[in-house]
């Protein structure tokens, strides 16, 4: 476990950034300022932050429809992220992508695909490129429990396993794919068990414990960097809200929701940091106000930014 104070505080700050960011997105959506739909990451912060804290800036990630947290954890600019979600010209993708398709190639964020499971082979391909180019990068691929029933999951992991590609396959198991409970669509309890079918390590970890996720990710990164191939990491977690903004999530038992809210990854980490004497109540408050200021600045920037000109729709089709 890392005891580097600076790193721990940075991880905590990132988690808070994601939570506050998502709360703002939720609020703005309610005010009709966010076009389309949104899939919030609130409740799952420990996964993205735990994994991305084990990566360097040069490493890659591949993201999903529930991707705001992945971006922020990898170090994306809050302003450009928020502007993209609002469909503004100043957003990461000039308004072409929106909430489900954010990318920042400068920080190795290879983009979010909204086609469930489509990121898995793409991550394997990035891993292949790393191997062929002979760098020591790795690629972390985020996807859900639902995605692990897609053919691309099996094909993509098998390829990465066979070719010993430097990839972390990170399954964010939040127990549901829309309204479908995991147990309705697979007989195993742990998605990580599937790793054995491809001859690679599979680890199930408490996805609401950021340090536990970090440790597992660090180990997997080590393996990957020395050419030992991919790892399948399953993080058990829970989304605080419905699947998308309009989903009241009535298919989830109240007791289950309450149980998981008690395991809030941010509250848990803060308690841990207090106990470890890494953080005081005072410092925690300071971080909160700092993050609030940053999020508010992102919102202001996004709201004040112009929409793209209609004709820009015709640009970027070909290189």
């Amino acid at each position: 476990m890392t005891h580097d104070k600076e790193k721990l505080v940075e991880m905590y700050t990132k988690m808070l950034e994601i939570r506050f960011f998502e709360e703002k997105v939720y609020e703005l959506y309610g005010q009709n300022l966010v076009p389309g739909t949104i899939h919030l990451y609130a409740g799952e912060e420990a996964v993205a932050v735990g994994v991305c804290s084990a990566l360097s800036r040069e490493d890659y990630i591949v993201s999903t429809h529930r991707g705001h947290g992945h971006c922020i954890a990898k170090g994306a600019d809050l302003k450009k992220t928020m502007a993209e979600i609002l469909g503004k010209k100043t957003g990461y993708c000039k308004g072409k992508g929106g909430s489900m398709h954010i990318a920042d190639f400068n920080i190795g964020m290879l983009g979010a695909t909204a086609v469930v499971g489509a990121g898995v082979p793409i991550a394997s391909g990035a891993g292949l490129s790393i191997k062929l180019r002979g760098t020591d990068q790795v690629c972390a691929c985020f996807f859900g429990d639902g995605a692990s029933n897609q053919g691309t999951f099996h094909e993509g992991i098998n390829l990465a396993a066979t070719w010993a590609l430097p990839v972390l396959f990170v399954c964010e198991n939040n127990l549901y794919a829309m309204g479908t409970r995991q147990s309705q669509v697979m007989l195993i309890e742990n998605v990580a068990e599937r790793a054995s079918a491809y001859g690679i390590p599979g680890v199930t970890v408490d996805g609401n414990d950021v340090l536990a996720v970090y440790e597992v990710a660090e180990e997997a990164v080590k393996r990957a960097r020395v050419g030992k191939g991919p790892t399948l990491i399953e993080c058990k977690t829970y989304r605080h809200k419905g699947h998308s903004r309009v989903d009241p999530a009535t298919y989830r038992p109240k007791e289950e929701v309450a149980e998981w809210l008690k395991k809030d990854p941010i509250i848990r980490f803060r308690e841990q940091l207090f106990k470890m004497h890494v953080l005081t109540e005072e410092e925690a408050k300071e971080i909160e106000s700092k993050v609030t200021v940053a999020i508010n600045a992102a919102v202001k920037f996004a709201l004040e930014s112009p929409y793209p000109e209609p004709e820009e729709a015709l640009e970027d089709v070909y290189a």
Partner: protein, 324 residues
């Protein structure tokens, strides 16, 4: 007659056919009791027919269609839902190489009586992976029928025919049409494939349109009528088989045609229709064929961008005015 929304009309068709024929069953992602379909078309059906006949599947589009093929060639009548039309890409082999060809390739021994329902179309700002109109992909595959209903009446009648038929039917729906209301008979009815519907009669120009674009065309026609331009709006209702006779008759009457389609212009629906008109009615044309379509881009997210690429009544009016 009674008033009903497009999505409810589709559900009536499913319910009636499931009651009538025990071999009809539904499969798809989140179509069952917990969600009722992403667009609520199957809402309540699991409660009535049970989870055996309204099956929630894993997120496995290729296998949803593959399983439908397997069930169809062995005596069942599956109706598969793919949550978004864009995602049919994942199932393309099962649709285009398996379902569509299984009869021909095996010398007519097999039949695959199955329906693939899926929503196409933009207008709700959900970007490039959830907004396309891909009807033309399926028109290009012999062995598939392609239905494109624009009203609750057409949706119900065509879906019943699709379920009863012995061929695989690619049944296109449209996200913006689900809440649209229209009149349907109280009593049971079906609609034949390959029979176009003249949605508005006119004499100066034919506007050929499908699904949501039919409504844009009708609005355009209404506005143009105030300028004394008489527009005939023709809705093919199925693209395969296509009611060529009705299309050509209308063109021969008006001598002008604007083809409106929400899909990309290149090699799209409008290209095929234009080719037919050029091949078979060019001598009757008094002006060049006009096409109003998506300008060969993916569908962008931001509202002003999306609005720019998706055809609307203004672009239809402009095209009509260029040739009358």
């Amino acid at each position: 007659m009674k008033e009903i929304a497009y999505r409810d009309a589709l559900r009536e068709a499913l319910r009636e056919e499931m009651r009538r024929d025990q071999t009809v069953f539904l499969l798809g992602e989140d179509i069952g009791r917990f969600w009722g379909g992403a667009f609520k078309v199957t809402n309540g059906l699991a409660e009535e027919f049970g989870d055996e006949r309204v099956r929630d599947t894993p997120i496995s589009e290729s296998t949803i269609i593959g399983a439908a093929v397997g069930a169809a060639i062995t005596g069942m009548r599956p109706v598969a839902e793919i949550m978004f039309g864009d995602l049919t890409a994942l199932a393309m082999d099962q649709i285009a190489n398996q379902a569509a060809k299984i009869r021909y390739m095996f010398g007519g021994q097999a039949k695959a009586p199955m329906v693939i329902r899926t929503p196409f179309g933009g207008g709700v700002n959900i970007a490039s992976h959830h907004s396309q109109s891909l009807e033309a992909w399926f028109m290009h595959v012999p062995g598939l029928y392609v239905a494109v209903p624009s009203t609750p009446y057409d949706a119900k009648g065509l879906l019943k025919t699709a379920i009863r038929g012995d061929n695989p039917v690619f049944f296109c729906e449209h996200k913006l049409l689900y809440p649209l209301k229209g009149m349907i008979p109280e009593e049971e009815y079906t609609l034949p494939f390959g029979k176009a519907d003249v949605k508005r009669e006119g004499k100066d120009v034919t506007v050929f349109a499908t699904m949501f674009m039919v409504h844009q065309a009708l609005t355009a026609a209404e506005r143009l009528s105030r300028e004394n331009i008489s527009v005939e709006v023709i809705d093919p209702r199925t693209l395969v088989p296509l009611d060529k006779a009705a299309l050509l008759a209308s063109v021969k009457k008006t001598g002008r045609i604007v083809i409106v389609s929400e899909d990309c212009k290149t090699a799209g629906v409008s290209a095929e229709i234009a080719a037919i008109v050029a091949e078979e009615a060019i001598d009757y044309l008094d002006a060049p064929i006009k096409r109003v379509a998506e300008p060969d881009t993916p569908i962008p997210f931001s509202p002003p961008l999306e609005k720019f690429v998706i055809p609307d009544e203004n672009r239809i009016i402009k095209a009509v005015k260029e040739i009358v």
